[in-house]
C-alpha cells in the first residue's frame, strides 16, 4: 500500500513535469527553437492565479482565477512571440534560445517584484483533503493533477488530430516551407503555438502550486522538465509526457530505495543514460526524407 501511494504521488509529480515538457516540445516542434522560459511561464501562471485568488490579494473565486490565469498566460505567450520571437525569425536558433533565457530572468524578477521572494501557498479547494479508493487514501490534489493531465492529453490529441488549426500546426512543424506554400499563415500559427504553450504553463503552474508553496525561482523546475522531455524523446508530445512520468516516478523511488539525496540527481543520470543508449529519446519520431 505504501509503495502504491508513493507511486501515485510520483505520478502526480510526473504529470506536472510532463505538462511543462509538453510546452517545451510544442514550441520546439513548431518553431525549432527551445523556449527556456517555459518553467518561468509556469511560475508566472501559478503566481497570477495566486494573486487573483488568495485572500491577501484580490480574493476572486478559485476557478475564476484559474480561468483568468490561463487566458492571461495564453495572451502573454502570444504577445511574447509577436514582440520578441518573430523579429528573430531567420536568426540562428541559439540567439532565440538565449532570448528565451533572458525572458525567463525577467519573469523571475517581475514576479519577485510583485509577489515578493518568500514562498507562498496557493489557496485552493484541494489542499489537505483525501479521497479513498478501496483501502487506498490519496490526496485530492494528486487525483486532480492526474485527472487534469489525462483530460488535457486527450483534449490535445483531439485538437491536433481533428481540428483545422491543430492540423495546420502539425503541418507547419513537419514542413514549414510546404505549409507556407499551401497558404497556411505560418507566422500566426507560431504565435498560436506560443499562446497554447502559455496556457499549458498556467495549468501546470496551478497544479504544481496546489501541492506546495511557490516562489519566483520555482520556474527552475523547468530544467528538470526539459530533461524529462529529452528522456521521453524531444519532438514527440507523448514522449514529453512519458519522460515526465518516468522522472516523477524515479525521484521518490530512488530516495526510498537508494538514499535520500540521490533523488536530486537521478533525473539527470537517467538523462545521460538515455542519451547514451537511445540518443533520440524513448519515443522518437524518425522521419527520413525520400528523394
Amino acid at each position: 500500500m505504501d509503495l502504491l501511494q508513493l507511486l501515485i504521488s510520483g505520478l502526480a509529480n510526473g504529470c506536472v513535469y510532463g505538462l511543462i515538457g509538453l510546452g517545451f516540445v510544442l514550441i520546439y516542434k513548431a518553431t525549432e527553437s527551445v523556449n527556456f522560459a517555459q518553467g518561468d511561464m509556469m511560475m508566472l501562471g501559478a503566481f497570477i492565479t495566486l494573486g487573483l485568488t488568495n485572500q491577501s490579494y484580490v480574493g476572486l473565486p478559485f476557478w475564476l482565477a484559474v480561468i483568468l490565469a490561463i487566458v492571461i498566460m495564453g495572451i502573454l505567450g502570444y504577445l511574447l512571440e509577436v514582440v520578441f520571437i518573430r523579429p528573430m525569425f531567420g536568426q540562428s536558433q541559439i540567439a532565440v534560445v538565449i532570448l528565451t533565457i533572458a525572458i525567463g530572468f525577467v519573469a523571475r524578477f517581475v514576479a519577485g517584484l510583485i509577489w515578493g521572494h518568500e514562498p507562498q501557498s496557493l489557496e485552493n479547494p484541494f489542499v489537505g483533503k483525501d479521497v479513498g479508493f478501496g483501502g487506498l487514501v490519496l490526496g485530492l490534489d494528486e487525483v486532480v493533477i492526474i485527472g487534469t493531465t489525462l483530460a488535457l492529453t486527450g483534449g490535445l490529441y483531439l485538437f491536433f488530430a481533428y481540428t483545422r488549426i491543430g492540423l495546420a500546426m502539425q503541418a507547419a512543424s513537419q514542413n514549414q516551407l510546404a505549409a507556407y506554400y499551401m497558404g497556411i499563415p505560418v507566422k500566426r500559427i507560431h504565435s498560436l503555438v506560443w499562446a497554447l504553450a502559455g496556457a499549458l504553463a498556467a495549468i501546470a503552474g496551478v497544479l504544481f502550486a496546489s501541492k506546495g508553496a511557490i516562489d519566483p525561482s520555482t520556474g527552475l523546475l523547468g530544467i528538470k522538465a526539459f530533461a524529462a522531455a529529452i528522456i521521453g524523446g524531444f519532438g514527440s508530445l507523448p514522449g514529453a509526457l512519458l519522460g515526465g512520468l518516468v522522472v516523477g516516478l524515479i525521484e521518490p523511488l530512488s530516495s526510498r530505495y537508494v538514499a535520500a539525496g540521490v533523488s536530486q540527481i537521478m533525473p539527470y543520470l537517467m538523462l545521460l543514460l538515455v542519451l547514451i543508449l537511445r540518443p533520440h529519446g524513448l519515443l522518437s519520431q524518425v522521419k527520413a526524407k525520400k528523394v
Partner: protein, 257 residues
C-alpha cells in the same frame, strides 16, 4: 484573347546580393499549359517562388487577372488562385495522405465541398485512395509527387505552378504525371505553369514555352515552334549537330549568354 491570366513584367529577384532573375517577363493565358525550360541555376525555381510570394521581388510586377500581387505572402496568393506544387514534393511526412489533401484546402471557405474534391483527386490518383490513411512519408517518390499535385488541386487554383514534377522520377512515371497534368488542364480547367528540365516531355505537353538562362528569358514561342528550333534541339533535346569534332568542344558550346 483579352488580358492574360498571369502576366509578369520585368521581374527581378535577389538572393542577398546575387541577382537570381534579371528582368523576366512572361504571360500565361487562361486554359493554357505554359512551360519554362532551363538548366540548373537558370532561375526557374526562384521565378516560381517570386510568383507565389515566398520571395519578394526587387522590381517588376506579377499580375493575376490584372491585379498586382507581387510581394504578398503566399496565403494571399493561394486565396487568390495561385498554388505552387513545390520542387521535391514537400509533403507533410507524418500526416496521413488524406490530411495532406485537407491541408491543401486550408484557405478555402467552402468547407462542405472539400470531401467531394478529395474524391475528385482520388479519381485522378487511385493509388492515393488506397493509401488514404497511411503516413505520407511512407509513399514512394512518384506517389508523393501525385500527392503534391493533388494537394495543390485541393486549393481550387486558377493557375497551378508545377516546379520540376519529373524530379527523381522514372521516365515512365514522368510520362504518367504529365499525362495527368494534361487531363487536369482539360477537364478541371486548371491553367498550368510548368518548370521543367525534361524539355521533350514538357514541350510535348505544353501549348507555349519559354526558355530561361542565367535569370533571363531568352526565347519564347508556341511549343511546336520551340520543338523545331535548332538551338532547343541541340541544348535540350539532346540532338548533336552534325559538325566537326572540334565544334563539340566546350569552348564552342553555344549559349545565349
Amino acid at each position: 484573347m483579352g488580358e492574360p491570366l498571369l502576366k509578369i513584367d520585368n521581374l527581378e529577384s535577389y538572393y542577398g546580393p546575387i541577382m537570381a532573375i534579371r528582368g523576366v517577363s512572361l504571360e500565361v493565358n487562361e486554359g493554357q499549359i505554359v512551360t519554362v525550360l532551363g538548366a540548373n541555376g537558370a532561375g526557374k525555381t526562384t521565378l516560381m517562388k517570386t510568383i507565389c510570394g515566398v520571395m519578394d521581388p526587387e522590381k517588376g510586377t506579377v499580375k493575376l487577372n490584372g491585379q498586382e500581387i507581387q510581394g504578398q505572402d503566399p496565403d494571399f496568393s493561394v486565396r487568390h488562385g495561385i498554388v505552387q506544387v513545390p520542387e521535391g514534393r514537400e509533403i507533410f511526412p507524418l500526416m496521413s495522405v488524406e490530411d495532406n489533401l485537407r491541408m491543401g484546402a486550408f484557405t478555402r471557405k467552402d468547407r462542405s465541398n472539400i470531401a467531394a474534391d478529395i474524391e475528385m483527386v482520388y479519381g485522378y490518383f487511385p493509388i492515393l485512395k488506397e493509401r488514404a490513411q497511411q503516413d505520407a512519408g511512407t509513399l514512394s517518390g512518384g506517389q508523393q509527387q501525385m500527392l503534391a499535385i493533388g494537394r495543390g488541386l485541393m486549393a481550387k487554383p486558377k493557375i497551378m505552378l508545377l516546379d520540376e514534377p519529373s524530379l527523381g522520377l522514372s521516365p515512365l512515371l514522368t510520362k504518367e504525371i504529365f499525362a495527368i497534368v494534361k487531363r487536369l488542364n482539360k477537364e478541371q480547367k486548371v491553367t498550368m505553369l510548368v518548370v521543367e528540365q525534361n524539355a521533350k516531355i514538357a514541350l510535348d505537353t505544353a501549348h507555349y514555352g519559354y526558355v530561361m538562362e542565367l535569370g533571363r528569358i531568352v526565347m519564347g514561342g508556341p511549343a511546336e515552334k520551340l520543338r523545331e528550333s535548332k538551338d532547343i534541339q541541340e541544348f535540350y533535346l539532346g540532338q548533336r549537330s552534325e559538325g566537326e569534332r572540334a565544334q563539340r568542344r566546350w569552348k564552342n558550346r553555344k549559349t545565349w549568354r
